[in-house]
């Protein structure tokens, strides 16, 4: 299978604490991969390493945009450079721009695909105006796909919770990623909203051809969505495989439920 993301032996130390210990992971083209594990297992740290928020202590992060080219290393790049390369993420605790409108939030996602500088912004030449107009149209198109178009001019902070989560996805999609990293997209959602999210994520993969790596605690969603699952615990990868394999893996059951004792 063609791989768009390949992570090899990724380790991250915070002082004496080893948050990640030689974790391997790969995401294939058009694949939905889930990363699960108990609280504090290092899932979000893993995301932060990939997206450049922390420089990893050891290991390699390799990307290949269409899955065909020779993989390129992206460790140590700044977060904005990583996004420019085509990895976009959402956050576990929603991080929207609360005092900007919904449309502007999405347009921020377009930022790294636009070129206008200070002079362009002041003079408003033809190319700047064209770019600006295109950004508005494209952003609106994304909002329509995600189903947020009724909220275009609302402030992001005034959106209902589920819509805020979806807006994060819309904003990430505006950066034209080949891989979308979703950090607990269903956290705090009711079963209805989770169901909608399930459909949305599948649609993004099928219609946009974007591969997806997600962290999630909602097992029903994980099992229904993912092609493959990676399980981490105490910073180490303890299992990988299809949902079926993971469901029956003794190591995973132990990590989640604890060991049976003969007492």
């Amino acid at each position: 299978m063609e791989q768009v993301l390949k992570v090899q032996d990724l380790s991250m130390n915070f002082g004496g604490l080893r948050a990640l210990d030689a974790v391997d992971l790969d995401v294939g083209k058009n694949e939905i991969v889930a990363l699960i594990g108990p609280n504090g297992a290092g899932k979000t740290t893993f995301f932060n390493c990939i997206t450049g928020i922390y420089p990893p202590t050891e290991g390699d992060i390799l990307i290949s945009v269409r899955g065909k080219e020779k993989p390129k290393r992206i460790n140590g790049l700044k977060p904005n450079k990583v996004t420019e390369k085509g990895l976009a993420r959402t956050f576990q605790n929603i991080r929207l721009f609360p005092n900007m409108t919904v449309l502007e939030n999405v347009m921020i996602g377009r930022h790294c695909r636009m070129r206008a500088g200070v002079l362009g912004a002041v003079l408003r030449g033809g190319s700047t105006m064209k770019e600006e107009k295109a950004a508005v149209t494209e952003s609106y198109a994304i909002l329509e796909k995600i189903g947020l178009d009724p909220f275009v001019n609302e402030f992001a902070k005034n959106l209902p919770y589920g819509a805020q989560r979806r807006l994060e996805i819309a904003r990430a999609m505006a950066t034209e990623p080949f891989l979308l990293l979703l950090d607990e997209p269903a956290a705090g959602m009711n079963p209805n909203e989770t169901q909608e999210l399930d459909e949305l994520i599948k649609r993004i993969r099928d219609e946009e051809g974007i591969s997806i790596l997600l962290i999630e605690h909602d097992m029903k969603l994980v099992m229904s969505l993912s092609d493959r699952i990676f399980v981490v615990d105490y910073g180490r990868k303890i299992a990988q495989g299809t949902p079926e394999e993971i469901r029956n893996n003794p190591a995973v059951i132990k990590a989640y439920l604890g060991e049976e004792t003969d007492a």
Binding site: P79, F97, I108, H111, A116, V122, A172
Partner: protein, 408 residues
């Protein structure tokens, strides 16, 4: 509708105020005749005054809370402030703008030189406020040393003119560039800082510039400053004091219009949005592909540019510069203009500058109470209108069908 509870509260307030002001308002020691005067009448006045004011205060607080509750319940129809309604309505907005424009144009011919001078300083502060508005209001970087760039501009004119005889018009762009360069110079070390830490470092930067100017005698002539800076000349013709003032007035009107034009275009552009995103959430902003360092530096540089320019005009207007004009107090006033007017709002900043600069000038009779009024104004504003006089409104778009974007 006044309940017993409210009366009780008001009584407590008035007693408390009488107690607080007792030492300064009631007792007066006359050291010559060695007697103590007891001015009980003052105490009575304060008691009655604070009793009544407490009702007014509570009335406004209640009205405000009612407003927020309404807004939360989604009834926003009435919540749009008057200022914004005027701005939205083109039938009122356009004629008002034209009238204001004509008034501004003929101002120096109907009013005295004194009035024109006051308005020039208000215009200088408008420009400073709009510049700082980029840094504080849009990019959310609390800069307490903004006056340093103002000083850079003023000294650029004074020194370059003194040593090389360069004229006002040559130095205006140089001052702007120097402002931008110093903005970047300040920007580099503070790239990693935010919030309180940033405020402290910028405060230090402002003081460093002032102290250098004060102590480096060979360079800046120390506290005695530089005098006899020429006023701008009109195509090489030297103007009289009266004409030059009017000329500077028009230059300032032009520069302010330029600032408004540029800032307005910037804030709805790719760069402006990046600034606001940076203010709202730094981590998310980076994760969305915005170069944090570059965005911060452009904010500092573009903010400082306007301070550099207004510094040049300031030097030309007063014909004298010394470090005493560039104290931390100036930074605070400019910051107050931005906060009071409404962070990120151009019209708000203009209103803020006019209120804060013109009010003390026209209330000279009460100049002893200037600081008191200033403090009270700030407290009242922050309680009742935390968003500023005229808060910023974000641009909205209208969509018909899928791909027809129209600005509204």
């Amino acid at each position: 509708m006044i309940t017993f509870d409210q009366i009780k509260k008001a009584v407590v307030v008035s007693v408390w105020f009488m107690f607080l002001t007792f030492p300064i308002m009631v007792i007066r020691v006359n050291p010559v005749e060695h007697i103590v005067e007891w001015r009980w009448k003052n105490m009575l006045l304060i008691g009655v005054g604070s009793f009544l004011l407490s009702f007014v205060w509570h009335y406004f607080i209640r009205r405000k809370e009612l407003g927020t509750r309404k807004a939360e319940a989604g009834e926003e129809g009435e919540a749009i402030p008057l200022a914004q309604r005027i701005l939205k309505n083109k039938a009122i907005y356009r004629p008002t703008l034209v009238a204001l424009g004509i008034f501004a144009l003929i101002f120096p011919f109907i009013f005295s030189l004194y009035q024109t001078n006051i308005l020039i300083s208000a215009l200088i502060y408008i420009m400073l406020g709009l510049g700082l508005n980029i840094v504080v209001g849009l990019a959310g970087l609390l800069d307490l040393g903004y006056v340093a760039f103002y000083a850079v501009g003023a000294y650029a004119y004074a020194l370059l003119n003194y040593h090389f005889g360069l004229s006002f018009w040559m130095i205006l762009p140089i001052g702007a560039c120097l402002g931008a360069i110093f903005g970047i110079l300040l920007g580099f070390p503070v790239l990693r800082l935010r919030g309180d830490y940033l405020a402290i470092v910028t405060l230090g930067f402002g003081e460093i510039i002032r102290i250098i100017l004060e102590n480096w005698n060979e360079f800046s002539f120390g506290p005695s400053g530089i005098a006899n800076i020429p006023r701008p000349s009109l195509f090489g013709i030297d103007l009289s004091v009266h004409d030059a003032t009017i000329y500077i007035y028009y230059i300032m009107i032009g520069l302010c219009l330029l600032t408004i034009f540029v800032v307005n275009r910037l804030q709805d552009s790719r760069i402006g949005r990046a600034w606001i995103a940076l203010r709202e959430d730094e981590i998310a902003c980076q994760a969305m592909g915005i170069d944090k360092a570059k965005t911060k530096l452009t904010a500092f540089a573009l903010g400082a540019t306007w301070a550099g320019m207004s510094g040049v005009v300031f030097a030309a207007k007063t014909t004298f510069v010394n470090p005493a004009s560039f104290t931390i107090w100036e930074s605070i006033i400019i910051l107050c203009i931005v906060v009071l007017g409404g962070m990120g709002s151009i019209i708000g900043v203009i209103a803020g500058a006019l209120v804060l600069i013109l009010m003390p000038e026209y209330l000279r009779a009460f100049s002893e109470f200037r600081m008191l009024a200033f403090g009270v104004l700030l407290v009242v504003m922050m309680v009742f209108r935390p968003g500023g006089l005229i808060p910023n409104v974000r641009r909205t778009y209208k969509f018909e069908g899928v791909a027809n974007a129209e600005e509204s």
